[in-house]
């Protein structure tokens, strides 16, 4: 009995050691980014894990000396428009794939997996040429259009697995009663699949907010940059000060972090539903 209890205590201890190690691995880099961004410059290069002098000067300098507010505004506009457009397009598409029982609906899962095969780089060179012919380089419209290709396939795929969990009788009952598809979709499916719709909205926002390659190619002017492009340019600048640069990193990650903290259960549910359903 005693030895059994001992091994159980041992297993428990091993579990907590593993948890601690995994937590440090995942979270310490974020702690270090944040703490470094508010460390007094005199201590920034000392490497103390908990500095003793703090300052917000880095943030003041960042906002005073760079166009970070303009970049942020661009990022917000792009991400919001991409999110709204993605949700509308994905709700319609997923409804069609989930409830009509067409052959396309059955093949869609694999088809969407198939779209992951194509590197963004392959898309971006011709996209740049086409958009420059349309005069849409350096415009929010151009970025939004191209970013839809990142969000739409994934969100259709995920929402379809949410719709598939809704009993088909609910769909048939609505149709039998003579309701139009629009009505069935809006009054039955959207309310029932609300967690799925929140999940795809959050995904679309995060994907778009984080995207680097497409705006990198499609934006030439300082005023047209999104936040990641601005920060990357700042990072590539050899004379840059680490303090404001680290502050710009915090400013870039903060919005998705806040969104994630409040809505992470929808994200997890969405990923897990998609994973098991395929």
């Amino acid at each position: 009995m005693v030895s059994q209890r001992k091994t159980r205590t041992g297993a428990r201890a091993a579990l907590w050691v593993a948890i601690l190690a995994a937590t440090i691995y995942s979270a310490f880099p974020f702690y270090w980014l944040f703490i470094s961004s508010i460390t007094d410059p005199s201590q920034l290069f000392g490497g103390a894990l908990v500095p003793s002098d703090y300052t917000l000067d880095n943030y003041a300098e960042l906002f005073a000396q760079t166009a970070v507010l303009t970049w942020m505004r661009n990022s917000v506009v792009v991400a919001v428009v991409v999110t709204v457009a993605t949700v509308v397009v994905a709700v319609m598409g997923a409804y069609s794939l989930a409830f009509f029982g067409t052959r396309l609906g059955q093949a869609a899962g694999q088809l969407i997996l198939f779209t992951y095969m194509f590197p963004g780089v392959v898309i971006v060179v011709p996209a740049y040429r086409i958009l420059s012919q349309l005069g849409l380089v350096d415009s929010i419209v151009g970025i939004v259009l191209v970013e839809l290709v990142l969000t739409v396939p994934f969100c259709v795929w995920m929402l379809r697995s949410f719709f598939k969990e809704i009993p088909k009788e609910l769909f048939e009952a609505g149709r039998m009663d003579g309701a139009s598809h629009l009505r069935v979709l809006w009054s039955i499916m959207v309310p029932v699949a609300r967690p799925g719709i929140i999940a795809i909205a959050v995904f679309a926002f995060i994907f778009s907010w984080n995207e680097y390659l497409f705006p990198l190619v499609l934006v030439n002017s300082e005023d047209g940059k999104t936040l990641p492009i601005g920060v990357a340019g700042f990072m590539g600048n050899l004379t840059v000060q680490w303090g404001p640069l680290l502050a710009s990193g915090v400013v870039t990650v903060l919005p998705v972090l806040v969104l994630f903290v409040f809505l992470q259960r929808y994200l997890v549910q969405g990923l897990m539903a998609g994973a098991v359903k395929g």
Partner: protein
């Protein structure tokens, strides 16, 4: 407000009533109308995929047979010239095999660590939900911030990692993680693994939670230890999901551009140059759209072959069961 009440209040005269669905002619027209509606609903999503994926793809392949560049407004057909230039040049095969190495090593560690994290989260302990959220953080972080964080932590002069290593052994304290010839590829792979682990973890956690509890219990009643139970019950159950995750991550990594571009630009020398970065580089720094198209097409062919092997293997596996 419940959906069904709205449905009931809608006028009963619309469309065909269910009382006579068997007369063939209106049924066919109704079927056709349903098909049209389903296609119309799908149209915007299909348009995104066709216009933003299929059209660029065809354009890229077409460009690869021309001498198109960003410098001159005109271009002409050159046959396979770009391909022979690329394939006989010094850069292609080292870049190609490096891309496979980068992909293979990344996928292996992303899945191995992701599985370990998933198994950790599959244990019962207090604060599990919060921990799951923390483990997911690297995945939702913008890649530019990922690059910034690690360039700061791994800075050769003031990085915290070199500070800590230097305290152990002074000669470890000045490793140039991103700019040393022999270290750079390992460094970007390490950062790439860090970024990918949360995604494999959450998918594999879903798989672990779908392992029937009775099976695990039965195995432990039979006297199988934890390792044994894992090898004989859990792992076989996870196999399908593991294979799918491996395929998706093979593509994610193979196609990756941003992390390497932000981390090293493919350098030092060409030590971290992979196919997508090269494709970008040839187009936007070399301004050679045609040659870049050849790089892109060769990349696509490689991915298609990998996916083909995967699907052939899956089909054989399914046929066996």
């Amino acid at each position: 407000m419940s959906g069904s009440s709205i449905v009931q209040s809608s006028p009963p005269t619309r469309g065909l009533t269910p009382s006579r669905p068997s007369s063939p002619a209106p049924r066919r027209s109704r079927q056709r109308r349903e098909l049209l509606v389903s296609l119309a609903l799908l149209a915007p999503a299909a348009a995104v995929i066709v216009l933003l994926m299929a059209v660029p793809l065809v354009t890229v392949v077409a460009d690869s047979f021309t001498d198109r560049s960003f410098i001159s407004p005109t271009s002409s057909f050159v046959g396979f010239e770009n391909y022979s230039d690329v394939l006989t040049g010094d850069a292609f095969w080292p870049t190609w095999s490096r891309t496979l190495l980068w992909t293979g090593v990344s996928v292996f560690f992303q899945i191995a660590i992701g599985l370990a994290f998933a198994m950790l989260l599959n244990q019962r302990f207090r604060g599990r939900g919060g921990l799951r959220a923390i483990f997911l953080l690297p995945w939702i972080t913008p890649v530019v911030v990922v690059a910034l964080i690690w360039k700061w932590m791994l800075n050769d002069l003031y990085g915290i990692i070199n500070n800590l290593l230097g305290a152990v052994r002074p000669e470890w304290g000045d490793l140039a993680w991103f700019s040393d010839q022999s270290l750079a590829l390992a460094t970007v792979i390490g950062v790439n693994v860090w970024r990918g682990v949360p995604f494999t973890m959450i998918i594999l956690l879903a798989g672990l939670q779908s392992v029937p509890g009775e099976l695990v219990e039965a195995a432990s009643v039979d006297g199988a230890g934890r390792l044994r139970t894992f090898a004989t019950v859990t792992l076989p159950h996870l196999r399908g999901i593991l294979l799918t995750v491996a395929l998706i991550f093979t593509m994610f990594n193979f196609n990756n551009f941003d992390l390497i571009y932000l981390g090293t630009r493919g350098g030092p020398g060409d030590q971290t140059m992979i196919l997508p970065v090269k494709t970008y580089d040839v187009a936007f720094n070399g301004l050679q759209v045609g040659e870049s198209g050849a790089w892109a097409t060769l990349t696509l062919i490689t991915i298609a072959v990998i996916a083909g092997i995967y699907f052939a293997y899956m089909r054989r596996r399914e046929a066996k069961h």
